[in-house]
Symmetry: C2
Subunit: 199 residues, 2 copies
């Protein structure tokens, strides 16, 4: 390992730590709900060094959104290629609508940062490709009019998670997720999710 290679590696590693820290905090409190200092503290650094890695908080928000969504898109694409279509669709849907994941901060950024991203033009542009990737992955698992169904299915999934996170009643939350899964997946319901204790 060459010396300078290690230096740039450390730099990239730190950058990545900032990105993942921002990913957690932005999803939990919203982009406008956390400051640069909170992000840097979560990354184990102090606020001043932030601008050695990103030109502005807006740029960070755009890159975080893009990174999180591209992760999801590539995961979906991978699933859609390694299993047969019906099983892939079920895996994607059940993973996306898993109550534990929805309750946590690890759920899809579309549902936690959607409006935040929509208001920021740079973030909007950054996620365009990933959004199409998710649609393609879904479409490749769907029968018939793939594109129409992919658009509608993604809408249902995103809406269900938004509403599940919004509802104050855990039963209602669960109902949104279950109804969405039943609406997207073909009627042969496999084992329904076990009873889960409230968050």
């Amino acid at each position: 390992m060459s010396p300078m290679a290690e230096a740039t590696h450390r730099r990239a590693e730190t950058r990545q730590r900032i990105l993942t820290a921002a990913g957690h905090l932005f999803r939990k409190h919203g982009v406008d709900g956390v400051g640069v200092d909170a992000v840097m503290k979560e990354a184990g650094l102090t606020h001043g060094g932030f601008y050695l890695h990103f030109p502005s908080k807006e740029a960070l928000a755009a890159e975080v959104s893009q990174s999180l969504l591209e992760n999801a898109a590539s995961k979906w694409l991978e699933i859609s290629r390694t299993v047969d279509r019906e099983a892939a669709l079920e895996r994607i849907v059940r993973y996306y609508l898993d109550p534990d994941r929805v309750a946590s901060a690890h759920c899809c950024p579309l549902t936690t940062l959607g409006p935040d991203v929509a208001r920021r033009s740079t973030s909007r542009e950054a996620i365009g490709g990933a959004l199409r990737g998710m649609l393609d992955a879904l479409a490749s698992c769907l029968p018939g009019r793939k594109r129409q169904l992919a658009l509608a299915s993604l809408s249902t999934m995103v809406g269900a998670v938004v509403l599940a996170r919004l509802a104050d009643d855990p039963d209602l939350s669960q109902s949104f997720l279950q109804a969405a899964a039943d609406s997207i997946l073909p009627v042969n319901r496999s084992a329904s999710a076990a009873e889960r204790p409230p968050v």
Copy 2:
């Protein structure tokens, strides 16, 4: 018109102006994206007087969310009672997914403030009733397993608007709205996703 009645009327009127101003600005920039002074300026007042009408910004956010959602819920209920079920469903869905409305700041707060509300416990509690009202209105327009379909349909509508506002490509935005409408409304066109038979 008694004198004191007019006084309290003026007070209530000012309060309402603050509420509607906050409704516009919160939906456009997010709750954390506007300050109390911006809200008061939009209402034609100065920032200091805010605390004569609301105990805190959090309380304002909760009341704005509740008010906007209850407006929508009562509108849906009214429609569901004045027309036959199928026509009512179509009116609600087409109104909700109207591209002009989606592009404006007048669209449903679930889609613009959803994550913001989900993070604020007081706001979450405030909207519980209205959310159930919207589900009831939808269910009364739906055939068969009403509750399941209402949950899934609302999810699809909310998700479609979120995604339409997110997409940078106007064609893609339009596609989300169109696909959602086609998926919810009965078989005017082709098979709907809700009643789609397994392949």
